[in-house]
């Protein structure tokens, strides 16, 4: 598929939604090189599926499905360079964005907490943080809304415990 008009339309689509794609890569990859690889793989899968997209689902649903399917079922071997979450070493900037110190600290807490979730929990958390309705989450994930609500409650409890433990050292030996 080398039609320049289609390529341009696709590049516009990816550019408009690259924020979401970067967030998926950050959630599922620890190192910058892994994030880069995953981003490229997601873009490749989007490109491959683009010709067959006929608007049966919303564009955001289509994008999320491909991005999350690629991230979750890719099952890359991730080499973790540090074995415990060290907030001082968590990368928080994307490309050249620099955040104020207070925001940096908040971002580190955010990623430290989400890093401890499972792949499925990360997907649910991301969709929740993106303000997706339970209907949309059901379309993307393929699980019932009741099941989603139960899972979200568990994730809330888990994140509360994680952030409390990280802030106050509760539960750590």
């Amino acid at each position: 598929m080398q039609d320049p008009a289609i390529q341009e339309a696709f590049i516009r689509l990816v550019s408009e939604h690259r924020g979401m794609l970067y967030k998926v890569c950050r959630l599922y990859c620890f190192s910058a090189s892994d994030r880069q690889d995953l981003f490229q793989e997601i873009v490749y899968q989007l490109w491959r599926s683009y010709p067959s997209f006929r608007g049966e689902a919303r564009i955001s649903t289509w994008l999320y499905r491909i991005a999350l399917n690629t991230a979750i079922s890719g099952l890359r071997k991730q080499r973790r360079l540090i074995t415990s979450v060290d907030p001082g070493r968590l990368p928080t900037e994307w490309h050249d964005i620099q955040y104020p110190a207070e925001k940096e600290e908040q971002l580190q807490l955010l990623y430290a907490a989400i890093d401890k979730l499972t792949e499925v929990e990360k997907a649910l958390t991301m969709l929740y943080l993106e303000d997706k309705s339970y209907q949309e989450m059901e379309d993307i994930l393929g699980i019932s809304q009741n099941n989603l609500r139960v899972k979200m409650n568990r994730i809330r409890d888990k994140l509360r415990k994680i952030t409390k433990a990280d802030t106050y050292g509760i539960g750590k030996s």
């Binding site: 599926s49 499905r65 079922s73 958390t125 009741n146 994140l159």
Partner: protein, 210 residues
């Protein structure tokens, strides 16, 4: 920290501004090959097919044209084996194509991957094990067909049937060898794909559980 306060932080994350470099990077990605495991397996399969063709073609011509035509049957054996291998590679390629459905909902895609990967490994195991008795049988048929016929003096001298021509000898070798190949294949397949299948099943269980 509550999920709601994480939401506030999440929404404040900005995507980097679009640059011409980003556009060029995306364009470059479109021309690249996928590095996903399934895509790599597909490429490996094509590579194996090409290697097979490169190895078998000279062997075919060698036995067809050489040895004063006495071993042409071996050249057709190579053709038969190549045909079997290509059918095997084709089936594997089909299964690999079925494995990836990234536009499906996450749960359906995972379920499809698990089912197809199990079919793939079962086929791999069955074909890898069946190859042994099949090759044995073909080799036995060729050797028996090349033995001197019953009326010749040479055959009379060799009567009773020499031990290496006895079907019983071939059978007692074949059975343990097939068993060994089965277990070696099973071990290898589990080493290559076992962890991946378990991981996918765990993800599915987590999606299904309440």
């Amino acid at each position: 920290m509550e999920l709601e306060s994480l939401k506030y932080i999440w929404h404040s994350l900005e995507a980097p501004p679009v640059s011409e470099q980003d556009r060029r990077a995306i364009l470059a990605t479109l021309g690249r090959r996928s590095q996903a495991p399934v895509a790599r397996m597909r490429r490996n399969l094509i590579g194996e097919g090409i290697l097979l063709l490169a190895a078998y073609t000279p062997a075919f011509f060698c036995f067809l044209l050489g040895f004063d035509g006495r071993l042409t049957v071996l050249s057709w054996l190579f053709v038969g084996m190549a045909a079997i291998f290509f059918a095997y590679y084709y089936r594997k390629y089909q299964l690999l194509n079925e494995m990836q459905c990234p536009t499906w909902p996450i749960k359906s895609n995972l379920a499809r991957q698990v089912d197809t990967l199990k079919k793939y490994t079962r086929f791999y195991l069955f074909a890898g094990t069946a190859m042994v008795p099949l090759m044995y049988f073909l080799s036995y048929v060729i050797i028996r067909s090349k033995l001197p016929n019953a009326t010749s003096a040479l055959y009379q001298r060799l009567h009773p049937t020499p031990w290496w021509a006895s079907p019983f000898f071939w059978l007692i070798l074949l059975i343990p060898m097939t068993f060994c190949i089965y277990f070696v294949n099973a071990w290898y397949i589990n080493r290559q794909y076992g962890r991946h299948i378990k991981k996918l099943q765990e993800l599915l269980r987590e999606l299904d559980s309440e």
